[in-house]
Symmetry: C2
Subunit: 195 residues, 2 copies
């Protein structure tokens, strides 16, 4: 059973995730976190050393949730079906959030890369893992004749991740699913994906 | 001849552009701007009503500079050559900035869309204009048999912009040109671009 301290810690992280996702890590202040969690400063600092400490823990939790999402989404009878299923689930995942907040990792990438090295490092890890898993599936799909073979799987995996991040950016800006939806539709055609 | 006031105003905007580009509009404080410009608070507020006012003016200047860049880059003997030239110049433009700061519009999109409507609106305008100009060129290239014709020019233009933004994000995170460079190389193949 989790201790009272562990429960409080998780509650802080849950609320902080919402705030960081909406406002960004750098713009969020300790006062924002106190407002969202209903904690006193003393209480918050009992559980975390700093705002950065809360932020990194939020990112680490998001990293493991995203890892689970990837492993769940990359399922199917064939490599092509796995990729197709990932496209569908990634669209669904973003649609259900109604594009508020967008991609926590993409936001953090742009926000943190010049200013906050530990955040940038963690986000780099997430993207490297994401690209790696897609590359593996794309390579298998190429071997099965389910994805075009004239570009290396590594380049295609990198392009897919970049295109999704760009699509989320555009959908978020317009507050409508169109751009991301069309990005997935176009990717299917351009990759010559046969599920 | 510009007046002394106009010169001061431009100087403030020049310095503010650097700071906003590096730190983002929301994270940058009035004190950051005072530090960068060497102004007193009274002086800065003589020229601009607020930090937001400086920020929007910085974005408007960036918008017209980017419009000029687009018109310069989309030049060539044929529509396909125009698109190819744009890809080359967009790569060059980002390489010369060494990926520090990334794309001001992309950063602002992710930073501002849920929090700062006037910024989001201006950035939406920039993206709509960019997509519109690419769409025109891609459509002409399709008519010349220089770009694949099985996807609408509008979808391809939107995908190109999203992919470039995603590529800049990845290049910036890694502090190396590889991801954006490979995104352009892959786009050439996927679009079946014949300059």
């Amino acid at each position: 059973m989790p201790t009272k301290g562990e429960i409080t810690r998780e509650k802080i992280l849950d609320e902080a995730t919402q705030v960081f996702h909406r406002k960004g890590f750098l713009t969020t202040t300790i006062n924002d976190l106190l407002g969202a969690t209903g904690m006193t400063k003393g209480n918050l600092y009992f559980h975390f050393a700093s705002k950065e400490d809360v932020g990194l823990e939020v990112l680490r939790r998001a990293q493991s949730a995203f890892r689970e999402f990837l492993d769940d989404a990359l399922q199917g009878e064939t490599p092509g079906a796995k990729l197709d299923n990932f496209f569908r689930q990634a669209m669904e995942r973003n649609r259900s959030k109604e594009f508020v907040g967008g991609c926590l990792f993409g936001n953090t990438a742009l926000e943190a890369c010049d200013n906050a090295p530990p955040f940038a490092e963690l986000v780099s890890e997430v993207f490297a893992e994401w690209i790696g898993k897609l590359q593996e599936t794309i390579q298998a799909a190429q071997e099965h004749g389910q994805v075009r073979q004239d570009l290396p799987a590594s380049a295609l995996a990198e392009l897919v991740v970049g295109t999704i991040e760009g699509g989320i950016m555009q959908s978020r800006l317009k507050q409508e699913e169109g751009p991301l939806k069309r990005a997935f539709d176009s990717l299917r055609v351009l990759l010559e994906l046969k599920p």
